[in-house]
């Protein structure tokens, strides 16, 4: 066991990790941040997507120790400071972008990274960008609508700020 430290959702945290402790295990079991889900544990489904140093990754396929000293954002870091839903989360609610909700944390994190790199994606780009996220309920249409709606809201907010 080694003690590792990282910034998670803006807060400095430390915890114990073995060599083979995955980032998702560290987040869920050591830090009790259970919003990040384990769907497949084989890097297929994307329910475990978080951001490490600003890039989306599958936390079931990254070792916790590889993130020692780094910065991690999870779904718990996506709400507004007052606890209300963030823009992408609210878009999922508005567009009925979830049914069982199991895949939603990963979907939100993937869309956040996608919109950071490409603020006005086409529908095809959204579907391509969500290739690493599997949803077994919605058929994806409302998830795509949520991504489009979030992109429009964020673009409006950016314009208002100028």
């Amino acid at each position: 066991m080694a003690t590792i430290s990282m910034t998670v959702n803006g807060k400095q945290v430390s915890g114990e990790a073995q060599g083979n402790t995955l980032l998702v295990e560290f987040l869920r079991q050591e830090l009790k941040l259970t919003g990040t889900h384990v769907g497949c544990d084989t890097s297929q489904c994307g329910a475990c997507v978080v951001h490490v140093n600003g890039e989306s990754v599958k936390s079931c396929s990254v070792f916790a120790s590889a993130c020692d000293g780094g910065s991690v954002t999870t779904i718990e870091g996506m709400a507004n400071d007052d606890g209300t839903l963030g823009v992408i989360q609210q878009a999922f609610q508005n567009e009925h972008g979830l049914q069982c909700g199991f895949c939603t944390p990963g979907m939100v994190m993937s869309i956040a990274d996608m919109l950071k790199n490409n603020p006005q994606p086409t529908e095809a780009e959204i579907r391509e960008g969500l290739k690493g996220n599997i949803c077994r309920c919605t058929g994806y249409h409302n998830i795509v609508k949520a991504a489009q709606s979030a992109a429009a809201t964020l673009a409006g907010a950016a314009q208002a700020a100028e």
Binding site: E55, S61, V62, A66, K131
Partner: protein, 265 residues
């Protein structure tokens, strides 16, 4: 997954020292190795994570070569304006590997060292005649790949950079297996500065990545899709699995080569 000691050195010499230990294994982006460890198909005693070594990362143009650091992620290559200007085929190739999250972790060095017979990068390295630079030597791509999951890398040898000659034109045409997103049969086509044409094929060969001489000769004398029609691509030596027969793969080699020619003309 069995446990192991995890070390994340920040310079190459410390990593090479750590890799001298018994049962030590290098970790690139981990997008293949971590699933392999979970299945207990590998059981290193020490894992040496190369992702903290900044000198292994980056893309630079050196004269008529494009040099990509061994620890550079697929996402970084896909987003690079320098790569798009010099070798657009590499942008096409990297932007279709796995999914965005895999591309944010997976590295060129890891992909080449693993030499998966359906991986994309080996086709580009072979077609472009890349040079693989390690902490010990420089290796021509022709000598580097040695069959399924096999390379000439020795224990403790780390890919520090890959040097690609900049061709006159390049493209990567991928026919993917939709579930795994690996190549069922894909072709990297390069028209070199001297006019010669090189065709690297991945996903098809029972012995891994290969160049197709017949297609190269035909296209070097007549760079047109119809020139591909006259070439016979044998099913002998093509892999056979539940996704595709050798005959199907042989046909795909021609189809994807034609698409490649059309894409750059």
């Amino acid at each position: 997954m069995y446990n192991f000691d995890f070390t994340r050195p920040t310079d190459l010499s410390a990593a090479v020292d750590a890799l001298r230990g018994d049962g030590a294994q290098a970790l690139g982006g981990g997008q293949t190795l971590i699933p392999v460890l979970k299945q207990r198909l590998a059981a290193p005693t020490t894992l040496v994570d190369l992702s903290g070594i900044d000198s292994l990362k980056g893309i630079r143009r050196m004269g008529d070569m494009l040099v990509i650091g061994g620890g550079t992620t697929h996402g970084a290559v896909a987003a690079s304006g320098d790569v798009a200007a010099a070798i657009p085929g590499l942008v096409q190739l990297t932007s279709k590997i796995g999914d965005p999250q895999v591309r944010n972790r997976g590295t060129i060095g890891g992909s080449l060292a693993n030499n998966d017979p359906a991986a994309c990068y080996p086709a580009a390295a072979l077609a472009l005649g890349a040079t693989i630079e390690t902490n010990q030597r420089e290796i021509a791509a022709e000598d580097f790949f040695q069959g399924l999951y096999a390379t000439c890398l020795e224990d403790g040898e780390v890919i520090t950079a890959v040097k690609f000659p900049i061709p006159a034109a390049s493209t990567y045409q991928k026919f993917e297996q939709p579930a795994s997103r690996f190549s069922l049969t894909s072709v990297f086509l390069a028209k070199m500065q001297d006019g010669s044409v090189r065709v690297g094929v991945t996903g098809a060969g029972a012995d891994g990545v290969f160049r197709h001489e017949g297609l190269e000769q035909a296209l070097s004398s007549d760079f047109s899709a119809s020139a591909v029609d006259g070439v016979s691509v044998s099913a002998e030596g093509m892999s056979n699995d539940l996704h595709a027969t050798p005959e199907y793969r042989a046909n795909l080699v021609k189809v994807m080569t034609k698409r490649a020619v059309e894409a750059v003309t």
